[in-house]
Each structure stands twice: as structure tokens, then as C-alpha cells.
Symmetry: C2
């Protein structure tokens, strides 16, 4: 198909397609004549992947290149997944010193026997939340940690099972990025609904 | 204590204390002379609550007033919790029509027997995520819905248990707002760590 058809088919503007091509995110099309390039379904798929990473994942073009390179290489799958996971913006730097939050998170990780790299982006996120709880004089909320961790294991197992359903490494990396970003919102939504149901059970008078 | 001491003790500036007082978020101090007001620990506690709702919850001053009024009134506890939950910004409007996402969410809610109001803020959040998955041609990620819901019930039960530990309705509402906002990040962090652990189990070669 011609670039105009590719644009229509993928919903990506011709200018963006040319930009991704210059940035080498998109494979070269077949040249049927000096002024005529032929695109096919691999270009449609790749454009969909790039848009998902940029629009949903919030990745920069440079980071998209890193994720694609990891997906295309033959590094071990868990490493490629780590690259995708770490590419997502919003990671929180670990505090320079070992705060209460860091030690609480490391304790629970050890108790559960999780093998997690020191630079896992979730470690800083979780540690910072705990430090905020402590600062707000809400230490008692820490009592939720074991149940939260148990729920996180259920969600992670479901996440990895859905990644395992994907037909290619490229699509697996896409699933990690899209699923990590959207999965946070999906879980947050379900949590609010489950909270209302649980609150009714605990506090509601009989409602007719 | 004097206003200068209250400011030091709470970390809130004198200007902000006066502003909250004018906005009637802070109880009137005792007047010991026309130019001298005496504050006590109830003012320290209330300031901490206001700062938590504003800084962590992202609530506007008008919304803080609504949440405080609900916490102070004698409306049923589950209703007061609903007010706190709905006060948090970032809720997503339901699409005007019944999209695929809305019907998927309503189906799972019915299957699980959850009692959830149509305007629960999580319903729109979850429905929008599902609509995004479908648009991105990632329908297969919907297979995670039952496990996500099961995990959400575990987290919601832990959330409500920690709310139940609070000594007053005021503090319960604070816990709902702080716990809902921070809890999303805490869970997101633990999920990333659990994903890495799960990925290692599934994909890693023996590492020595």
C-alpha cells in the first residue's frame, strides 16, 4: 500500500510516519520506483505498537527505540521485560539514605522470598508511599502491606499469563508497557468499586 | 498556644492558618483578649488533616469543606466514605453510551455480586481502560479481569479494616482519602516488584 493508505489504515498522519521512518523506528518500505514506496501489514502493526507506547505508555521516541531494540534482540525474556517495565515514566528514585519505607519494603520482599533487583522501579514507588504515610502520622496503614503484597502477586501472575499469550517478543513487550500503564488504572477502578461494596457490607443499614 | 506556635508545631504558615480560619475549615480559637487567640491540639490535628487532603489528596479547599462536613455529620458511615472517595480528583466520566468497557465492567460486577452505585468513580476508570485495550487491539488482556477483581477485593478488605482502626469519623475520612490516593501508588509499586519476581520464575535461566 502507499503511504497515504498506510496513514488512513493506521490513523497515523503522513508526517508522523515519515518522522518515525527517519528515526528508524519503522522498517524501510519496499521501493517499487524512485518515488514510490510500498508498505505492508508489518508497517501497520509497528505503527500501532509505536502509538501505544507513545500515547498510552507516555514513552519518548528515544525510549521507544530502546524498548524495540530489547524486544528484537535475543537477550533473555525476563531482561527484555525489565527494559520495557523500566521504560515507563513515573518511576520514583530511591531516597539516598535507607528510609523507613525502604526498610519496610525490603523486609516484606525478603519475607515473601521475592527476587527483585535493587533498581526495580516499584521499589522506590512503594518506599516513598510508606515514607509519606509515616510523615502523615498514618503508620497504622502499614498493616495493609501483607494483603497488598498478596493481591500484587495475583495481579502479577495474571499479567505474566497475558504476556505469555502473545505470539511474538515484539507484541510481548508491547503488552508489558500497555498492560503496566493501563493495568494500574484498571486495578484502581476495580479497587474503588470493591471498596464501596465492602463499605456497604460493613457499615450500611439494611437498605430496601 | 499562640498562632506562631501553632504554625511551628504544624509546619503550616501563619498566612495559611488565617486563610483556613476565614474559610471556616479550622475551628475558632479561644479569645483570651481582643488581640490574643489560644489554639490547642484539636487545631494541630485539623491542620494536619487539611494538609493531607490538599497535598496528598489534591483536594480543593471547597472539596475539603464537603469532606469535613460529611465526616462531622451523622449520615451513615458508608455514605460519608462515599463522599470522601468521590472527592478525590481524577475520576473519569462514564461514556455517554454503553461502550464495551461499561458492559464488561457491569457484567463482572454482577457476576461477583458487588453492590456498586452507577456513579462510583471506579466504574468509569475501569470502563475507559477496557475501551482503550479494545481500541489498541489488546482484547486478550481482558482475560485478567477475574483475577484483578479478586485482588481488588483483598485490597478493599484491607483498606476498610485500616479505616475501621481509626478512632474518629474525622480520622476515618482522612484515612479514606489518604489511603485511596497513596494506596494506588503503593499497589502499583508492589505490582512491579511482583512482576519481576514472576518473570524470573517464568523466563529466567538459572542464574548463579
Amino acid at each position: 500500500m502507499k503511504i497515504s493508505e498506510l496513514s488512513e489504515c493506521s490513523g497515523v498522519s503522513i508526517a508522523s510516519i515519515k518522522f518515525y521512518q527517519r528515526e528508524e523506528l519503522l522498517p524501510e518500505p519496499e521501493r517499487t520506483s524512485p518515488n514510490q514506496a510500498q508498505y505492508d501489514t508489518q508497517h501497520v502493526d509497528r505503527l500501532r505498537l509505536i502509538r501505544a507506547l507513545v500515547d498510552v505508555g507516555g514513552l519518548s521516541v528515544a525510549t521507544v527505540r530502546t524498548v524495540l531494540a530489547a524486544a528484537e534482540s535475543d537477550i533473555p525474556m525476563d531482561w527484555a521485560m525489565g527494559v520495557a517495565q523500566r521504560a515507563i515514566p513515573g518511576s520514583v528514585e530511591l531516597p539516598a539514605t535507607t528510609t523507613r519505607g525502604v526498610s519496610e519494603i525490603d523486609t516484606i520482599t525478603e519475607t515473601l522470598g521475592w527476587k527483585v533487583s535493587p533498581d526495580n522501579p516499584g521499589r522506590g514507588m512503594a518506599a516513598r508511599v510508606i515514607d509519606s504515610y509515616v510523615q502523615l502520622d498514618h503508620e497504622e496503614i502499614l498493616s495493609v502491606l501483607p494483603e497488598y503484597s498478596r493481591a500484587a502477586m495475583i495481579v502479577a501472575a495474571a499479567d505474566l499469563a497475558s504476556v505469555g499469550l502473545q505470539p511474538s517478543r515484539m507484541r510481548m513487550s508491547e503488552t508489558v508497557v500497555v498492560g503496566t500503564v493501563l493495568g494500574d488504572s484498571l486495578f484502581a477502578g476495580l479497587r474503588r468499586m470493591a471498596q464501596e461494596d465492602e463499605a456497604r457490607r460493613r457499615y450500611a443499614q439494611v437498605q430496601s
